[in-house]
Symmetry: C3
Subunit: 431 residues, 3 copies
């Protein structure tokens, strides 16, 4: 066991020693998690629940935890024991009582004051040691039906590369759902393939489908067949992350783990859904679908049944962003990006190839609302050159413009675009 | 303690005495509730569960309960003790064993026969006394995780003014969801501001988000993090109110507390949602959204994904009513009121400003179906005056008309209105 | 009690004896179930949970079970005892320890090897006997709140006639949801009328609404009012049937018992719903509604909020099939059958009466993609005869055609049909 560090100065010296150890690298993310392991496949990690996450933060704790992992000598070379997975990108290790004691010895000057919001990583180590002492590190005694074995692990991510372990995948999903990493900035490749499709029980426990099959007859005969909330590779966000005080999610099933909801967002229970790596950047009313990779800006309203198409489901790899103060009407479809202050009327489907008409008068107003956008200037040149009184254009050409109002001309059935009645807030630094 | 009343005659005399007490006022609603109190903010009422509600009814019991509240002498003046909130509009008091004993003493002639459907207020008093005796009024022993303290209170509402307490707000929501008050007739102003945004657990227990934050690390480490059904200021209707035997709600999340479903209504689990102060007046098939303040008449069908816009989300303060025997097609949008026997075809968005075409022939049929409606006569005068063969009009002008069929002319894309094939049932008293 | 059968040969002989018994008929389906009985109406079967189902299979076990039912002599005639319902179409009997011992005596040569996937009916008999021995056939001791009495029954269906008992109805729903009977091939008439509208609790227990009413005040006072997942006549599919390993259902409420999901189907939680006797024939992405009786072929995509209309809700009795490799765009409505490789663009409602335009060039491509379909030939004759350059036709005339692409001409608002860009896979045997 490490010797207890006796002072803050000694702690700092200790950290420097660890930093300079051969092979030590600062992680970009790390944390301690509780893994629900499979019962049929006892190596399968069905779910990783992080007790605390560190996203580009708390590198001191990273050093302490890295140092607390035991070494053993294998073929004359000193190696980490308890390693589950190691590569240039990720390190996942099982933790045990020696790990906790080592970490607490180094954390010693902070152990007393680690309460409330202070020193969360120290709190985790303290708490797990208490749990261990209480039940000889045998927590599966108390695990509810179906959750099989439980393992505690520590996870370090060094590079934002394709996901190699379930634990690293969950840590990235946490980073998104906790709002600590921006949407669409993390590499989630490989995640789907690593996750196990499970039945999820009402307290958030994942159960392998084969385990259910194995026990179904017996459980049914006894009237003990469990309640299943969903069958998926992912849990729901509310199983792991607590939203802001003014955020409302009226049905837990509507927000997948890995979605990001800015404070003040409301998700209604009708036709809404927010997939992972998608979400909101401010207070948004969500009554429709925000597909994977789509982002909605502050003070916008995604109307009842409105669909924002995602990369995997209707658009061609260019993810859609909706700006601030936009309104997607009920049952509208948004298949191109919108700038700020746009409106799509109820029931209208704006797809990249949708042809829209704009009068010259409205086009000139739209031009004024998009002075920062070079593409609008190119269109303007064409308009002037040809002397068009009516601009006929595909919606994809208007991608990201501010102040558009997509409407139907009910007399002719044509889709038209006007300057919206919504105010554009100009970037004060530029204008 | 009050002396036991010995006979029905004495009971009546007693009520008259109470009525004539200085300051006594009959309430318009009252009832006894069980409050789930906050754990972080121990004064916050997270939820009020009414054991029985009295809506413009049972004034005898109101008198008994009012009388059973203890008085104390403060600065020489006799005052109610245990008052939580008092104003001209509302009175909320904690109740205790003295209150129950006082009430039961006055209710004495009815205590024996208070079973089944009889004397529900007497039953509540009996039952609470039994619970008290069983566990020395210490019910929090038995409360599941997260519910914090519990308090029993009595609530009187004297005037239908803006809501002043959580309890009064819940009593009004009960009045709506139990069908005892008509939709859109109660003053719900102030309600949103009074309610606490909570996480709701699977048995309907509200938990403060801060409390979850406080305990999340520990609960997660132990595998005891709770299942959360939703995060909202409101519970769902099914947590408080039992629907009629022939009413079906295929997903609890789809009906908010304060919605009203007439007997025979079916709510499907696809894209449907019924907000508070919205609902149905008869057997309605609901596969779409009935937004706050919208009402749908008997024998109508709100198709899959159809949206009826609400006051807060798409219309300008004039709440939408849909009549009887209407059909809102799949993914249609209804932004204006409809009379009886109307149809909006699948996929069509009827907004107040939508321009529609009506042939003279169809207009004349529509005129015949709306003889009670003076506005149709005004339009007819214009039609005759100008000799129009085709009437071009905004949908808002047709608001509330019977027998309309909103369609698309697929050849021209124009929205047209015909007389629907549905029968109008005329008011026998008028015709 | 039957004498134990000592060898496989004796077992075969025994089965032949049973077959030749007067009145013995092979069932088309049979199985042993656990019934949740009503508490208010103790004869009402609220739910039947089958421990194993036999759909046109395992007739040997059928013979053993039929034989194991006790006979008694009534008015000089030998009759089955324990009969709950008997007709030419169905036989439902209570089972007891004598039944189990009789069945196990006959199954004797297989009892040892009845584990894992082997001899499921023998396993059921063994298991129920163990349960009986453990608690003197008194399982209601262990039943959670609200489930009332429990009964074990055996059900035989001889003819696929209208449903006569709840048990037979459930057995047919299992046959559909387990994929053992094809969709739309079973007679489900009468089922709705037999089922009781219940409140369903979180572990899948049905509770009569009257029972809830009876106990609501007491349960609420104690903070023990149960969590209700839905109020319906049907349970959800996931309460009874375990989907394939690569099938995902992101919200349990979205799939009713009696729906059928082929392996690889994904059901998203936005606006999707799959009713009973409806579903998928291969891996399908479902983000919309598959109404009762509608079927979707492999590799198709039902976009967010898309509606496939059902027999009960928008079409006239001719159920809709969608072929393979089809795409129903977000918020589209599909009111006619589609062949393979069709597309309906986002937001378009294709109803039987929708008028569509097809250019001659596109029509000829569509003709080539439907050589197996005689109706396209009839249309072609008309086109040639009249020399049409533009074909104007109702969508219902194109029902079941391959390779259609329903689009909007945004300039004119007209609905048009082109040959889709999707490949048609020709039937190799025919071409």
């Amino acid at each position: 066991m490490r010797k207890p560090v006796e002072s803050v100065e000694e702690f700092k010296t200790r950290l420097e020693e660890i930093s300079s150890t051969s092979g030590y690298t600062d992680p970009i993310m790390f944390g301690i998690c509780r893994d629900d392991m499979g019962t049929m496949d006892t190596n399968a990690v069905l779910q990783s629940t992080f007790l605390v996450t560190n996203i580009r933060a708390n590198l001191g704790s990273a050093k302490v935890f890295r140092d607390a992992l035991e070494q053993e000598v294998v073929e004359g070379v000193e190696k980490l024991s308890n390693v589950v997975h190691v590569s240039d990108n990720e390190l996942v290790c099982n933790i045990d009582i020696e790990f906790l004691e080592n970490a607490l010895a180094t954390f010693n000057p902070y152990v007393e004051e680690a309460i409330g919001d202070q020193h969360l990583n120290v709190q985790v180590a303290k708490m797990l040691k208490t749990i261990h002492d209480d039940m000889a590190m045998n927590p599966q005694n108390m695990v509810p039906f179906g959750s099989g074995m439980v393992t505690y692990r520590i996870v370090f991510i060094f590079n934002d590369a394709p996901v190699e372990t379930v634990e690293a995948g969950y840590l990235k999903l946490y980073a998104l759902s906790e709002g600590k990493s921006k949407l669409r900035t993390l590499n989630l490749n490989g995640l789907f393939g690593l996750l196990t499709n499970c039945a999820w029980l009402e307290h958030g426990e994942p159960v392998e489908l084969d385990m259910l099959r194995d026990r179904a007859m017996h459980l049914k005969a006894l009237g003990r067949y469990p309640g299943i909330t969903h069958v998926d590779k992912f849990p729901r966000m509310l199983q792991h992350v607590i939203p802001a005080d003014n955020t409302r999610i009226l049905d837990t099933s509507k927000v997948r783990m890995g979605a990001q909801l800015a404070a003040g967002t409301t998700v209604m229970p009708g036709a809404s859904y927010i997939n992972f790596n998608a979400g909101t950047l401010g207070a948004v009313m969500v009554e429709g679908r925000i597909s994977s990779s789509a982002i909605v800006g502050a003070d916008s309203d995604v109307g009842g049944g409105a669909s924002i198409l995602g990369v995997l489901s209707g658009t061609d790899g260019d993810p859609i962003s909706v700006g601030e103060r936009c309104l997607l009407g009920a049952n509208s479809v948004c298949g191109v990006s919108l700038g700020d202050a746009c409106i799509i009327d109820a029931g209208i489907a704006v797809l990249p190839g949708s042809k829209v008409n704009i009068t010259l008068e409205e086009f000139n107003k739209i031009f004024e609302a998009n002075l920062d956008n070079s593409h609008v200037g190119e269109i303007k040149k064409l308009v002037v050159k040809h002397g068009w009184k009516m601009i006929e254009i595909k919606a994809i050409e208007l991608s990201g413009f501010n102040g558009l109002h997509y409407r139907l001309d009910n007399k002719t059935g044509a889709m038209i675009v006007k300057r919206s009645t919504r105010e554009i807030v100009l970037n004060a630094e530029l204008h």
